[in-house]
């Protein structure tokens, strides 16, 4: 029995992967900590991620059309498999709550500062639940339009910021000590790129199963390009001062002022952050809901979305005591926390499948 009947196309999948990767990096701009070499760190991170997701593609190629939860159960049997699935689901769920609060903190701090957090989060999770309820096809079709809008916005902002570009900001090139750079690269790898592990729940529904690898790599690569360019733009515009701001990319948009006429573009930026955050949270919520339903062999995943979404919102309210805690967490320990889930679990399962020789005689079926 299939819980999800929808099939998604290659183009849409690649587009939502781009949006997903760009997601919270749009706001938080990771790796700015290493100054003008942040884009190098991002490139290192992308490179690492491109190597690591090889595992995911191998896994999906071994078990075409099966989600990570189903694969786990095949490889490790009902109990150990369920345990690994639980870890994975916890990660997705927790990531969803972090992303949710990242974006809504922005709304709360910059757009409607006096509105209580609960209301903002409640309103924020509503469209996510609705879209996840409508199923994968709708998520992808909605998402791809949002991503196209994002890319248009991106081009527009790039164009408008040209006058404040200072290419000297890139200099001096590579003065950060290597361990620091490597650490920043690792953080970058795990912060936007390896979060794509959630697509292990979505790619099985791709209508061309032989194109899974293409989808993963195209999405990751172009998403990486977008992120790297956004970081480069930030350095070009703000230079070293980028670290001084809580939301540097928003600030960089705020200072656009062309001939006293084209200014106040932050409305576009804010809309973009909310839309892209919606996309990311929706994907995560959907994956969590579908995962739980498959784990417990429910007949339908959709009823779970409301309580799960409420739970995600409530947990997101209980993640940090203040914005600083959020930044510390994201920049310092997140990569260590996430790597075992986002890189370790697929690897473990792949090794397990390889040792047990699975899937052995699929062809008899």
């Amino acid at each position: 029995m299939k819980l999800e009947k929808g099939r998604i196309g290659l183009k849409g999948t690649v587009l939502i992967m781009i949006g997903y990767i760009y997601g919270s990096t749009a706001i938080l701009s990771p790796g700015v900590g290493v100054g003008q070499d942040a884009w190098v760190a991002q490139t290192i991170g992308l490179g690492l991620a491109l190597i690591v997701v090889w595992v995911n593609t191998l896994l999906l190629a071994r078990f075409p059309g099966q989600t990570f939860i189903e694969i786990n159960e095949r490889v490790f049997g009902p109990y150990a498999g369920k345990f690994i699935s639980l870890l994975f689901l916890w990660y997705i769920f927790h990531l969803g709550s972090i992303v949710l609060i990242d974006h809504l903190d922005f709304v709360r701090l910059m757009i409607i500062p006096l509105t209580p957090a609960e209301v903002v989060v409640f309103l924020g999770i509503l469209p996510c639940i609705y879209a996840a309820y409508k199923g994968l096809e709708v998520i992808v079709r909605t998402g791809q339009v949002l991503v196209v809008f994002t890319l248009l916005y991106f081009g527009l902002i790039t164009l408008f910021q040209v006058q404040s570009y200072d290419f000297a900001n890139f200099k001096p090139f590579l003065v950060t000590p290597f361990p620091k750079l490597a650490w920043a690269g690792l953080t970058a790898a795990s912060f936007p790129y390896l979060e794509t592990v959630v697509f292990l729940m979505i790619l099985p529904f791709l209508n061309q199963q032989n194109k899974v690898r293409v989808a993963v790599y195209l999405g990751l690569f172009f998403g990486g390009l977008v992120v790297i360019w956004s970081i480069m733009r930030l350095i070009l515009v703000l230079g070293d001062t980028a670290v001084n701001y809580v939301y540097p990319s928003y600030y960089a948009v705020r200072i656009i002022n062309i001939a006293e006429l084209l200014n106040r573009f932050e409305i576009l930026a804010a809309m973009n952050y909310i839309m892209i955050g919606f996309l990311k949270v929706t994907v995560l919520l959907y994956a969590a809901g579908l995962g739980w339903a498959q784990l417990c062999k429910c007949q339908d995943y959709r009823p779970l979305l409301l309580p799960l979404g409420a739970l995600m919102a409530l947990v997101s309210l209980n993640n940090f005591e203040h914005v600083v805690g959020n930044f510390e967490f994201t920049t310092q320990v997140y990569s260590i926390y996430a790597l075992p889930f986002s890189a370790g679990l697929p690897f473990l399962v792949l090794v397990g499948a390889w040792v047990r020789g699975l899937p052995g005689k699929v062809k008899n079926k």
Partner: protein, 73 residues
């Protein structure tokens, strides 16, 4: 908070009859699990206790396990 209570009550009113109709006890069980957890957290929060600060705990734990992080970032 009242919004979350509303959401939970809505979901219960909407889904419980369907589960009973379908006799999908397993799905109903997991639904109830999430529902009750969410309700518990809502009540906890609306009673005005200090928030549990999940990520703070993870943060402190990992910071202690890997002290080199502070130097690098």
């Amino acid at each position: 908070m009242i919004l979350f209570y509303g959401m939970l009550i809505y979901s219960a009113l909407r889904e419980m009859p369907r589960y009973i109709k379908r006799k999908d006890w397993r799905g109903g069980g997991i639904f109830a699990f999430f529902w009750l957890t969410a309700l518990a957290i809502s009540i906890y929060m609306s009673l005005g206790f200090k928030r549990p600060l999940l990520n703070r705990i993870i943060y402190n734990f990992i910071k202690e396990m890997f002290p080199f992080i502070t130097k690098l970032s």
